[in-house]
Each structure stands twice: as structure tokens, then as C-alpha cells.
């Protein structure tokens, strides 16, 4: 089936998630869609699968214009999508999951469909037990089932959204072999990924998206340099490696915090042997695409999630297996990027936040807290009143409130994308404030999807890829290009 997309646009308010995207998907081929987070890949695929309505644009199937806006309609046209989060039923068996959505008779013919399922699995080299419950299956197996199910529905175009995330290398090989076989049988495969190696291994054709627009189209053989250039655009070149705004820490030989061989299995994200030494006063920037493991790593570092393996020590004191409270007592503080959901109490006022954090006695001493509150509002220039609820604050002011709740004696600050949703001015303010209050006194570990931010702020950069630390270098020893390559999974072994 040949699909032609013409000027597909999708606007969320002012944000242009997809801006005039046009390209053609050929039958008998694997077509890759490459781009960083927020490039508009997922939105485009959801439009194609009928899950999200498009704002404007046309879709042609074999030259004929089609209009649809539900997944069911898309399936009838032969377009099926394998979602990043499996759209299946954990409490039902493999066979039952397979049956749901198929056109079957009112009575379930178990035998007939078990045979059908097993046959399809065999053709693709999958091993699935029809009577097993889905909740006992791995993500890779659930994916296999979904592919088999979509094929049974007569899908001609198969869309896969980041299929290699969270599955084992072995399962990845099985999946890739199956996809190649399907393409040979005449299906069109659309592979969405931010992993260069997946794309170069599989695809006959690649469309690169950046900021909602098509920035390049390539045919196999693919050149990774060109793809990277297209993916990040001129951005990497514009980054000036001017050194951190934070003062360089003195050369002390003993690290403040040591993280050794952390392993953790958390749904689709697996951390493998992550180690990191944090020296006093050091600012470490974490780069990496979404769901590469940095979110989980930060939470382990903050004591919110316990790792399956590995140790964490602060000043030689072992914190492994301790709860978050002990981490706090050792002056380790965490600010999540979902400020309102994880960091603040949406309905509580500023005053109540200060009471909650700084008040030690049983009775609420509103008067002294009120004074503190006004002081903090002035110090941090929070645009709000003591009785303003946190949810009424703008993103920047929520961040200021969170920062104001950090105690002065903090030794390690863990900040998850601290400037998310902030304008340039507010972002700059956040870093200046942190430098003023904590420069040399505390270490900071922060994650950010913006490479320029990491290069402006950090002393050291580490890159997460697929649950592993792929690169760990002093900013002065690396280049934006090298970090950009590592983010996409490419490192030169010197």
C-alpha cells in the first residue's frame, strides 16, 4: 500500500506539533521516521493511525484521498499502529487479547484461533503461549502479540513507535528479522525512532523531522553523519563552549557522593551498571533522549526509588536501601520536572508550603511563617501572595517556589530539567540564583534536553542511552557534536 501525506498540520493552540509535513511511504519497504523528542514524530503517527485528528492536510492511499479519525477506521483501511505503551489487557490471556477486535462469531472458537495464532507466530519466529496471562509477559512478547494481532486484522501498513525501547537485545533481533520479512511480503513498515542504530540497520528510506517539519529525506545506504546533522540542525554548531557560569570546584580528591553499579528494572526502563562520582561543588549535566534512564537514575539518586543492585554513599556513609527521609537528612534534595504533580501541593497556598517545610512545632505558627513567606517572595521575586495556591502560579514561579523550599545547607541538589517551560529570562534567573546560593557549597546534578544549557552550566556532562551511561566527560574535554552523537547512541571508541 502506498501512502502519501500532503501538508499535514497539527496545532495545539499556538504550538505547531506538525507543520506542513509531506512524504510518501512505499510498499515493500521499511520507512524510518527520525527525530529528537518533541520533533513531532508521535503526533504524526497518531494522526496516521486515526488516534488524533489532524488540523489540516491530506492523506492519500494508493492515490485515493481518505478521511478518517478513529483507530477503527484506520484499521479498516489497513493501517495499524503498535503504541509505545502497549494498548492491551494485562488481566486477559494471550489468546483473549488476540481475539479482541477480530471479527469472530458470538461463541469463541478457542481451537481455531489458537491454531491461527500459533501459525502466525511461527511465520514470524515468535514464541507465545496462548494460555499465558499477559501480565506475566515481557514488553517484547507483548509487542510480538500486538504485531500478530494487527496482521490477523489484515493490516498492510504497520506503524511502530520506538519498538526497541525496553526490550532485550535478543528480542530486538527477533523483532527486526520479523519486520524485514514482513516488508518482503509486501507490507509497509513505518518505524519511529530516535535511535540511529535501529534506523540505519533496518530502514530503506528515512524522513527526518525537527520542530514539526521535515528536514531531510534519505535513501539507504544511510550516512549517520548526515542524519545527525539533519536531526539536530544547526543547533550543535551554534553552541559556544564558553565554560560553566558556576565557579570551578577546587581539586579535591574525595568525592561527595559515589554511585556504584546501579541496576534497576522499572517497566520499560532498565538501568545497567550506572556509576557516577560527584565531587563537592561540581555541576553535572545529564543529557539523553526521553526514557533513556535518566529519569529513573535521578530518582534513585534522590532515594525515591530503590535500585535492585548497586550502592550509593555520601561522604563515605552508605545510603543504599535507606529511604528518602535518610537521603533528606543527609542533605540530598530533589526537584522533579513535574512541578505541580510531584513537587508541590496544587491546592495549598505559598504560606502553607512554608509551614509544611520549615515548621517544626506541633502548632502552626502562622505569624513567623508569614514573615518568612514574605521574605522568600521578595528574595526570589515570586509573583504571588502568601495565600495564592500553588496551582495558580505560572511555571516559572512554581519553580521559584520549589527553589525557595530548598534548605541552605543542602549538599546535593538533584534537578530534573529545572528550566522546563521557562522562558530564557526565567531560566537564566534560575541558574543565577542557584549559583548565588549554592555555588561551591553544594553539588548539582541536573538533566536537560537542551545541550546548550548543559554546556553553559555544567562542569561535566554524562549521556544516558538505553539505560546506560554512554559518555561521561568534563565539558572542557568534549564537543557538542560528540555529546549529540552519544545521545543518538553513537560513540567513537578512542
Amino acid at each position: 500500500m502506498k501512502i502519501r501525506l500532503e501538508n499535514i498540520c497539527k496545532y495545539y493552540g499556538k504550538v505547531k506539533a506538525n507543520d506542513k509535513i509531506s512524504f510518501t511511504i512505499e510498499p515493500n519497504s521499511i520507512h524510518g521516521i527520525l527525530g529528537e523528542n518533541g520533533a513531532g514524530k508521535s503526533t504524526l503517527m497518531k494522526i496516521l493511525a486515526g488516534f488524533t485528528p489532524k488540523t489540516s492536510g491530506k492523506i492519500f492511499i494508493n492515490g485515493q484521498m481518505v478521511n478518517y479519525n478513529t483507530p477503527t477506521k484506520a484499521l479498516e483501511l489497513g493501517i495499524g499502529m503498535l503504541y509505545q505503551d502497549p494498548q492491551d489487557f494485562a488481566g486477559l490471556t494471550v489468546l483473549e487479547n488476540f481475539l479482541l477486535g477480530l471479527k469472530t462469531s458470538w461463541k469463541i472458537k478457542e481451537y481455531e484461533y489458537t491454531v491461527k495464532l500459533t501459525n502466525l507466530c511461527q511465520q514470524l519466529g515468535f514464541k507465545l503461549q496462548p494460555e499465558a496471562y499477559l501480565k506475566d509477559l515481557t514488553v517484547g512478547e507483548r509487542q510480538q502479540l500486538e504485531i500478530v494481532r494487527l496482521l490477523a486484522l489484515g493490516v498492510e501498513v504497520l506503524i511502530l513507535d520506538e519498538p526497541s525501547t525496553g526490550i532485550s537485545t535478543q528480542q530486538k533481533q527477533i523483532l527486526f528479522t520479523a519486520l524485514k520479512r514482513l516488508a518482503k511480503q509486501g507490507k509497509s513498515i513505518l518505524l519511529v525512532s530516535h535511535k540511529l542504530e535501529d534506523i540505519t540497520e533496518l530502514c530503506d528510506q528515512v524522513t527526518v523531522l525537527s520542530n514539526g517539519q521535515v528536514t531531510g529525506e534519505f535513501m539507504a545506504p544511510l550516512d549517520t553523519e548526515q542524519l545527525l546533522e539533519c536531526m539536530f540542525g544547526q543547533k550543535l554548531k551554534q553552541i559556544i563552549n564558553s565554560g560553566s557560569i558556576f565557579p570551578q570546584p577546587k581539586n579535591k580528591s574525595t568525592p561527595l557522593v559515589q554511585v556504584r553499579d546501579i541496576c534497576s528494572d522499572h517497566g520499560r526502563i532498565r538501568l545497567k551498571n550506572c556509576s557516577l562520582s560527584i565531587y563537592p561543588g561540581e555541576i553535572i549535566g545529564i543529557a539523553g533522549l526521553e526514557n533513556s534512564g535518566q529519569e529513573l537514575f535521578l530518582r534513585i539518586l534522590a532515594g525515591l526509588v530503590r535500585p535492585q543492585k548497586g550502592t550509593i554513599t555520601i561522604n563515605g556513609k552508605n545510603l543504599t536501601e535507606k529511604n528518602n527521609r535518610t537521603f533528606l537528612q543527609n542533605h540530598i534534595h530533589f526537584i522533579p520536572t513535574n512541578r505541580l504533580e510531584e513537587g508541590l501541593f496544587a491546592d495549598l497556598t505559598l504560606l502553607e508550603h512554608y509551614l509544611l517545610v520549615f515548621q517544626q512545632s506541633f502548632w502552626l505558627k502562622s505569624k513567623s511563617a508569614y514573615k518568612l513567606c514574605l521574605q522568600k517572595i521578595e528574595d526570589l521575586k515570586i509573583k504571588g501572595l502568601p495565600n495564592t495556591p500553588a496551582k495558580a502560579l505560572s511555571g516559572g514561579n512554581q519553580q521559584r517556589l520549589l527553589l525557595s523550599l530548598l534548605p541552605r545547607q543542602a549538599k546535593l541538589l538533584i534537578l530534573e530539567h529545572p528550566t522546563r517551560g521557562l522562558d530564557v529570562e526565567s531560566a537564566l534567573w534560575v541558574w543565577q540564583y542557584l549559583q548565588k546560593c549554592y555555588g561551591l557549597k553544594a553539588s548539582i546534578v541536573f538533566s536537560s534536553p537542551e545541550l546548550d544549557e548543559i554546556f553553559q552550566v555544567a562542569h561535566k556532562v554524562i549521556v544516558f542511552y538505553n539505560g546506560q551511561i554512554l559518555l561521561s566527560k568534563k565539558i572542557s574535554d568534549t564537543t557538542p557534536e560528540e555529546v549529540g552523537n552519544a545521545i543518538a547512541g553513537k560513540v567513537e571508541h578512542a
Binding site: 478513529t70 483507530p71 477503527t72 489487557f89 494485562a90 488481566g91 486477559l92 483473549e96 481475539l99 477486535g101
Partner: protein, 327 residues
């Protein structure tokens, strides 16, 4: 007491509870919690009695009760599915409202003699040794409870409609993406479940605790029915088993009461309830333990196999209003 008579009594006194528990199983498996059972049973018991008293038509009375149950359930379904309200909150309020409404509207019919369901032994089958007197020497209501158990099991696990029903409660968003009209199914099964809860009410006022009054005698049954659904792990056969177990406990209480007159009678009346809770706790703990066991059943001891059989997991999306946000 003779075992045959004991078992026959268990079977018969469980019948109205079976209607309520299996009705609720349908509702909850579709992902909706109808907490109003206790009130619904009383209201439909009153409606059933009033209709029977005035028309002398028992079928009409049962039908009216069922429709009453469905009407109450529709409030839960519509409130939650179309207005995004909390199912728990609506359920609680409806429980209290329906109970008071039943007492208020039924006041004029208090302690009046009314028609009752007749005893009807099934010819031939009733003469079978042991099985005959235990299962087939009852009335149509009890026989209907057998039909409901078997029907529910078959419907849940052997039909496509049943599979869709379970899918809706498990993951409504995924069900939607497979072309299932989730809201419509949930609405239908909430009404259907409510209908059977209504029949449960009629079975009390027209058979097991005949007549209308305050108290009627069915008070508290709705709550225990809700607990039994959990106890039975939302599986029709296990739910039925749990219902019989509860009926058995109640009966044992009555028997022990006559053997130990020195213990206050309230102890025996209340005992089944904490016993059910105790069973739930034991099952929960054991299900955590069996989860770690070897998945091959042939390596397990009979007790481990029993525990595995009793292991329960609720429908994943039970009671959530996820659909109103997603669609």
C-alpha cells in the same frame, strides 16, 4: 442436623444473594462499581411486594423489582460515564436514599400478608438420592440461581460478548482502540447487573423474608454481596462459591445458637461478617505467597493449588472514570 437438610438450606438461602453477587460481578467486570446494592435490594424488595400485593402477579412483581434495580444502577452509570462523577460517592448516597425511600414509600404496606413464591420440586430429579433433596426440592427462584451461575460462567469465558465485557473493565482505552463502544457496554452491564440486584430484593420480600416491614430482614445483604464479589475474585464460579460459603456460615451461626444458649445470639448473627473479612485477609496473604511459586501446577501441593485457584486480581480499570477524560 441432617447433612442433606443443611446443604439444601444453604443452597436455598444463598439464592437471593447469588442474584446480587453475580449481578454485581457483571457490573464490576465491565469496570463500574455499583455500591448502592444495600439500598437497591430494600427498594426493589418493597416494589416487588407492593406490585405482588396489588396485582397478585408474581412474574410482574419480579419484573418490577428488576427494573427498579436497573433504574437505580442507571444513576450510577450515567453519572459516572457521562458526567464524570465519582462512582463511589453516587453509590453511597444512593444506598442511603434508596433505603429511606423504601421505608417511606412502603410504610402503608407494613406487615400485610401478601402472595409468596410457591414450592416446586422438580419431578424425577427430586427423587435422585442426595442430589435430589439438596438441589431439586426448592422453588423457581432457587432454580433460576443455578441458571444464572452457569449462564454467567459461559457468557464470561466462552462468548465474544463476555470477552468484550472483561476487556472494558480491564483497559477501556485499549478496548476503545479496538473498536468497542466502551461506554455503551458499561452502561448496559450496569443496568443488567442492577436488574439482578433488583430480583434479589424481590426474592426476599416474596420468598425468604416474606412481606414488608421495618426492618425487612434483607438489611446488610447488599454490603456482604459487595464483599463476596471481591472474595470471589470477580469470577462467576468463585463468586457463587463464596456466596454459598457465606450462606453456610450464617446457617452454622443459627445452629450453634441453639447449642450454646449461654452465648448472646448477636455473636452468631454477626460472626459471618468478620469471618468473611478474615477469609479475605488469608486469601490476600496467600495469594502474595503463591505468586512466587513455581508456575507448573503439577509441582504444587493440593493446598497450594487451592490457594492459587482462590487468587484474585480485580479488573484493572475498576471504578475509574478514565473514559470521560480519554474520549
Amino acid at each position: 442436623m441432617d447433612t442433606t437438610i443443611l446443604l439444601a438450606s444453604v443452597i436455598s438461602s444463598a439464592a437471593p444473594i447469588i442474584f446480587a453477587t453475580l449481578g454485581e460481578t457483571f457490573t464490576e467486570r465491565a469496570g463500574i462499581v455499583n455500591l448502592s446494592l444495600d439500598g437497591t435490594i430494600l427498594l426493589s424488595a418493597m416494589v416487588g411486594f407492593v406490585v405482588a400485593y396489588n396485582t397478585h402477579n408474581l412474574i410482574l412483581a419480579f419484573l418490577a423489582s428488576g427494573l427498579t434495580g436497573a433504574a437505580v444502577a442507571s444513576i450510577v452509570a450515567i453519572g459516572s460515564l457521562f458526567y464524570g462523577l465519582s462512582q463511589v460517592a453516587i453509590g453511597f448516597v444512593l444506598t442511603l436514599t434508596c433505603r429511606d425511600l423504601a421505608y417511606f414509600l412502603g410504610n402503608a404496606y407494613t406487615r400485610l400478608p401478601g402472595p409468596q413464591v410457591k414450592h416446586l420440586a422438580i419431578p424425577l430429579l427430586k427423587d435422585l438420592p442426595f442430589i435430589g433433596p439438596v438441589f431439586f426440592n426448592h422453588n423457581l427462584v432457587v432454580y433460576l440461581s443455578y441458571v444464572l451461575i452457569i449462564f454467567s460462567w459461559y457468557y464470561f469465558y466462552k462468548t465474544k460478548a463476555g470477552l468484550i465485557l472483561r476487556a472494558c473493565g480491564e483497559n477501556p482505552v485499549a478496548a476503545y482502540s479496538r473498536g468497542i463502544n466502551v461506554k455503551l457496554h458499561q452502561l448496559a452491564y450496569t443496568l443488567w447487573g442492577g436488574f439482578w440486584v433488583g430480583l434479589s430484593g424481590a426474592s426476599y420480600s416474596l420468598l425468604f423474608k416474606p412481606g414488608w416491614g421495618r426492618p425487612q430482614g434483607a438489611e446488610g445483604i447488599g454490603w456482604i454481596a459487595l464483599a463476596i464479589v471481591i472474595f470471589g475474585g470477580w469470577d462467576p464460579l468463585k463468586v457463587a462459591l463464596g456466596t454459598y460459603f457465606f450462606a453456610f456460615l450464617q446457617l452454622v451461626g443459627i445452629l450453634l445458637q441453639s447449642s450454646y444458649p449461654q452465648i448472646p445470639s448477636q455473636v452468631f448473627q454477626v460472626a459471618p461478617f468478620p469471618l468473611m473479612i478474615l477469609m479475605l485477609v488469608i486469601m490476600h496473604i496467600s495469594s502474595q505467597k503463591t505468586a512466587k511459586l513455581d508456575p507448573q501446577p503439577q509441582h504444587l501441593s493440593p493446598i497450594q493449588r487451592l490457594l492459587r485457584f482462590l487468587k484474585t486480581t480485580p479488573p484493572a480499570a475498576l471504578g475509574s472514570n478514565v473514559h470521560t477524560k480519554e474520549f
